[in-house]
Symmetry: C2
Subunit: 374 residues, 2 copies
Amino acid sequence: MAFHSTRRLLSQCTNRAIVYSQNGDPAKVLTAVSFRPLPPPAPNTVNVKFLLAPINPADLNVIEGVYPAKPSPTPGLTAEPVFVGGNEGLARVTSIGDGVSGLSRDDWVVMTKAQIGTWCTGKNVGVHDIVKVPRVDGLTEVHAATMTVNPPTAYNMLKDFVPLQEGDWVIQNGANSAVGQAVIQIAASRGLKTLNFVRPRENLSELIKQLEDLGATKVLTYDALTDKSLRNDVKEWTGGKNISLALNCVGGKETTLMTRLLGNNAHLVSYGAMSKQPLSLPTSLFIFKNLTAHGFWQSQWYLTRPREEQEQVMNTLVNLMGQGKLKPPKHEIVSISAEDSDEEAGQKVRDVITKISEGQQGKKNLLRLESSES
Amino acid sequence: MAFHSTRRLLSQCTNRAIVYSQNGDPAKVLTAVSFRPLPPPAPNTVNVKFLLAPINPADLNVIEGVYPAKPSPTPGLTAEPVFVGGNEGLARVTSIGDGVSGLSRDDWVVMTKAQIGTWCTGKNVGVHDIVKVPRVDGLTEVHAATMTVNPPTAYNMLKDFVPLQEGDWVIQNGANSAVGQAVIQIAASRGLKTLNFVRPRENLSELIKQLEDLGATKVLTYDALTDKSLRNDVKEWTGGKNISLALNCVGGKETTLMTRLLGNNAHLVSYGAMSKQPLSLPTSLFIFKNLTAHGFWQSQWYLTRPREEQEQVMNTLVNLMGQGKLKPPKHEIVSISAEDSDEEAGQKVRDVITKISEGQQGKKNLLRLESSES
């Protein structure tokens, strides 16, 4: 490490954010900036300190400018307006404005407003843009920092489209994705059976074991979808019971084949398109089997559902997490010390993103931006 | 015409049906058979005489064995069990079994049970498989004979998926189909605007004129869908109002492009696949624009909706027809005289079907099977 002349003046700049001023390759456009302590919170707002904030794939798409949700620029950090990266994260309440009820200093909160900019140490947020996370036994920081996107996506997709009873089956592809793993666990906690499809790979038996340990009933590769015997196998596993819900984050041919395993009056819910192929379905499935195809976007859910429902879902997820029924994702924490210079901090973030972009890391990276402000 | 030695013995065989004993090319497998007068109707049934029964494209698919709805064989017509063709038709009540209320001799009825076999002169039917057609002024036999499939398909698709207000827009392709024309008229009767797509063709301006006369707001060809200026044109026509319902009987690329004209939270309802191409849609439309894709099948509607609703829809359609707001399709009536031999009758039907299969006739053929039974 070279000697750094830009060591921060801690007394003046206790906060830091990872920002960009224009869209582009996140491994290039992101920089770290330091900024002064937050002023006391205005009425109906609180100041928070972020403890841990994941780098999600969608965050990179937002920075690239190819994601439909656009953040608003944050004023006051630098001379020109900049965007703070990050959509999800766990924060701790540090001070409370007038008129705020139900929140105390040191409470944990997560963001319900999309694209709020979580890759920073401290922030002022409106009370309607956050929800309190009960500190139940067994709930870790990693759990809480990753609980507002993937787990509720899984939970809501299993709840909002088809009334499922214990013993009912659900099919999904991309079963190894963060949402896929949450689907397996939440389904298992409800006594639902899951038929899971994953990409063929070298260490398949290891992955199957891992997903079965989470509660997967069956795990198959996309290759099995072209196997003529599959339909009979499925019939045997389900005891001939119709499958009425399929969850899709892949698209393309695999999804067409998976959808054929559904019974009459079923629902196909898409929340991703990892194959980058469109959803292509025979019209006859819609007309003669009464298939309905939906999309699900958790950001939209937060915009349209009442606060009580949001809190209820968060509490349910927190309890599952506390009981060990919903495990945190495999992860790696990227710590940025309060004493790192902005240059060092920026470089660390860009390096992690380069590593993420290079491929199948199989774990979630979480930023821990340390600050000297408490 | 050759001399026919098989002239029917009217005193014995007053009824006739167009039948097939196995699936195949309808222009080959269909024959006419004569059968004896119907016995008096059993309790809760009535005997009816068919006045007019259309030859719909789906009827040919049923005979080919490629349609998901399968008829039951009709016993007693011939030594081996045979299937009577036809799904739709207008009949007149000729005699009434015990326990039947709300029906009188000479009442008009149409079939609500699919694949009942309408290509015959007389039939015994259960009261729950028919619905009475009020004889309002202006309602013709052709109206009533074609009212159970296409008009309710149009009516229900405009009613069941999106709550539409006067001035709202609906998009559809295959706008020249029988359902498409009904959509245009029913939409116009509700003050809805329609953006209609049709295949490019030579006599386009004539077709546009014809659809506009029915009440179409805009008529364009599929070629316009690839025109970049279309989106702005549509915005201008709608005054920027979101379009939230698209009706599709085509599939393939045209439907993908049409769906892109929809706003957020829209519904795409498919009732046909004339292009024989699957429905291929970018997953992003489902996730980020909250598109929902459904199918609609009128046969299924009859199976799942209460009788009151069925009667209500039929009455609404009858009133629209009577008021001249829902015109009968362009048609040609194929009359088969009671004095034709079965051979002649069968040949007439096969000839018509050959003509239909050869292509774009642009009109509906309706069978009028005459019998000497009154």
